[in-house]
Amino acid sequence: MMVNQGSILIFTTFILAGLLTYFLARVSKMSGRIGGALTGLFSIIFVYLFFHIYSLPGVQNLMFLLIGLVYVSSLFLLVSKETPPIQYLLFSGAAGSTFAFINGLDFITAFIFLELSTVFVFLSIVSGDRKKGGFLYLLFNGTGGLLFLYLLYFIYMKTGRFDYSAIAFLKPDEKILALTIGFLTFAIKMGTMPFHIWQPYAYRDADNGITVFLSGAISKIGVFGAFLMVFLQGSSFRISGNVYAYLGVITAVLAGLYALLQEDAKRLLAYSSLSQLGYVVIGLGLANSLSISGAILHAVSHGIFESLLFLVVGAVYIRTKTTDLNKLGGLITYMPISFIALLFGIIATSGIPPTIGFPSKWMLYHALVINGDPVLLSLTFLASILAFLYSFRLVYSIFLGPYTLKEKVGEAPFPALAGMVFFLLPLLILGLFPGLVLKFIELPVVRFGLPDFSFTPATLKTPLATVNFLTVGVVFIAWFVVAILVYAFAGRSRWLPVKNNYTAAEAIEDERILHYTGDFYRFIRRDMNFLLRHSIQRFYRRLFNLFGVIGDGISRIYTGDVRTYVYFILLFILIVLFKIKGGFPCLW
């Protein structure tokens, strides 16, 4: 019956820190920035001390570390720009409730902090310039919250308890019903396909620092909750599991396809985030020890690379005031460190070896091969080809090509650069030693224990093959050194301005910028139209129209005109008479 005391403590700390920062930021901008950074760091240290004392079990532990990392980095982005004071408070609240949610071990704590995080993020988005994303966010996540409330009520009525272990007292069919509802809640939070509409709008409209946290940490509420539902359901899950795996793969492919066609960096990243979370849903849906370990590892790597990408785009926005891919270009000259960060981010997104994106996808593929469904497996592979395409579009349109802006810009502010380094280190280290993450989840996934799968820090072994990620990384680096040596010994080169290139003897004026960037994958847009035309958004719009029609019908009943009501009363009397007489009255 009691709300988890630890969660309340964490939440209160964060709210106090947020309030303090808010008042400091009201005093002066500089004190707000310093205060924001310091209070943020103190509250994160507090969380770690707290959780060190209570030493939570594996997955919670891992999520704490990940969300803490994302929290610090997004705070760094917040303090490196002009952030309205109120955003500090709301951000602190959202972060506190996320931590508190992960910390809780009963449904009532989970529910309270799930709703609180929704409210804080909603307020934060609508206090910005564009509000559409905020309302969509509230609509979808509020619905998710209601579903969760129903779950809570259902379990309390059946067992009289609120803690997670109460699930064990349910009958098998009740258990499946309850946990399906729970899974839906968290599927909305992750933006799995039919419930994804809110995500691109919310990510676009939120403050850049908040977006980093939304993608990296708030979506992890969804991952953690969905994991919890799978974990509590145990072996009876496998029936519904395949449906979830298919939902996941549809999300991964379609979101990847939509990401190709976006013209705004933040929307592109929002779809890419959706697509990557699709892999997590696939892994959870297959529900064996290998796939679930892969899913959690992928959630961690998603938290790292996706937040890194949002962070770089946020830093670019600070300098250029735009995230429109058609307006940007050639920033590599002025922002080289951001370019390197983004480059490693996209390498991890497409899952190329010496980064963290690879081991998690590798594990998911092995789980899929063992599972043996060819449709699921090949579509997952298709999704990762799409990831390669949209990530190249991102790095090309922002950093490569000719420089398109009028005035020169500087490198990203120092705190933002520090945030990038925070992400780059785990991105590379965990890519070589994925076992360090898997250690956290060794115990909880044992109970799914189907394929025989083992690991050391650098090696993963499944029935299909063994891979030493450290060897892969070392071979990779060694041959790159060789290639660089070949390059270096071949002599110097002569730098020419960008305009000085092959144009088939056509004279180009200085004002005209030759740049192929708008509508980058126009072939796909043109020829895949038959697929892209049917969007789920249209379905929702039709649903909306349907409600309009129903409402119209109802308004014909409640017209506000006395005569109508008189008719209704007469009709009512007739029906009552009819009922009393028991049929048509006989007049003769």
């Binding site: 395409l389 190249f392 790095v395 071949a490 002569r494 072939f523």
Partner: protein, 294 residues
């Protein structure tokens, strides 16, 4: 020992790749009823390109792009079992490692050409990446029945399981998949009708348009290795289990087959090519999956 073997393999593959390229030029010329350059012309070209002074450059990424392409292809080569007696890193050479390492090289080329900011280059890249949706996907589907039946994704084990009689070759056991894989290999090599990325008459050799001197030399070396890695992937999956000379002979045969098709073919429009992959080769690959399951 380990390192020496790796370096020797790399040098051998580069030499063979350049040789294959030279012979391909000769074959193309003979089909066109020309005399053609000598078969060692590619060696001369590479030497010439590396000895050029002060090649033009457009920036740091422009210079690192070819380096990344060359290095990435060398790394992929290390995880491919080259023949029977010579498993380099194949104790860990796993299909997924190789499939993901192979894309490092195109990524490097794309990044380098991206900084050149020549629209021809970028259009070439956009086409190349779009085409990837077609051939990578089809290749993956075509090897699915093999990894399902053998219950491994270790490339060396897959190759070795085919040694013995002729009927144990995967090309015989999975003929439709083999056909699909050959078509997707054709697109990986970028031969007509799938040469939209380079398309010399249309977009002036696409990503390579701004490159010259040592950068083009590096790209030539990258291309030489890519020929062997891409044909070698098909050989490993469908014609594996032979000794090293036979392995190279088979890659040569597959490559020359692709070149002969190339000489007489026109070019698809880009999305026609992708659609083609989702019609004929994909259906072929799926047929074999269904036969295999039933």
């Amino acid at each position: 020992m380990f390192v020496v073997k790796a370096i020797l393999t790399a040098i051998l593959v580069i030499i063979l790749g350049l040789l294959y390229g030279g012979i391909a030029r000769k074959v193309t010329a003979r089909v066109h009823r020309r005399y053609g350059p000598p078969f060692y012309q590619n060696f001369i070209d590479v030497l010439k390109l590396f000895s050029k002074r002060l090649p033009t450059s457009h920036g740091v990424m422009f210079e690192l792009g070819p380096v990344m392409a060359f290095g990435g292809m060398l790394v992929s080569l290390m995880f491919l079992p080259v023949g029977r007696g010579n498993p380099l890193f194949t104790f860990e050479g796993d299909l997924f490692v190789l499939l993901y390492l192979i894309v490092v090289a195109p990524l490097g080329l794309a990044l380098g050409a991206g900084q050149a900011s020549n629209p021809n280059a970028t259009i070439g890249i956009a086409r190349g990446l779009t085409l990837m949706i077609g051939y990578e996907f089809v290749f993956f589907v075509s090897v699915l029945p093999i990894i399902k039946d053998m219950h491994t994704v270790n490339l060396f084990r897959i190759a070795m399981a085919q040694s013995g009689s002729l009927s144990s070759l995967n090309a015989v056991r999975y003929p439709f998949s083999f056909a699909a894989a050959l078509i997707s290999m054709h697109a990986m090599l970028g031969e007509k009708p799938f040469d939209q990325t380079v398309a010399p008459h249309e977009i002036a050799s696409g990503p390579m348009v701004e490159y010259g001197g040592k950068f083009l030399g590096l790209l030539q070396l990258y291309h030489a290795i890519a020929i062997i890695v891409e044909t070698g992937l098909v050989v490993t999956f469908f014609l594996g289990g032979f000794s090293m000379p036979v392995f190279f002979l088979l890659t040569f045969v597959l490559f020359i087959m692709a070149v002969i098709v190339n000489t007489v073919m026109p070019r698809f429009r880009i999305f026609q090519a992708v659609q083609f992959f989702f019609l004929l080769p994909l259906v072929l690959a799926v047929i074999n999956i269904i036969i295999n399951a039933g």
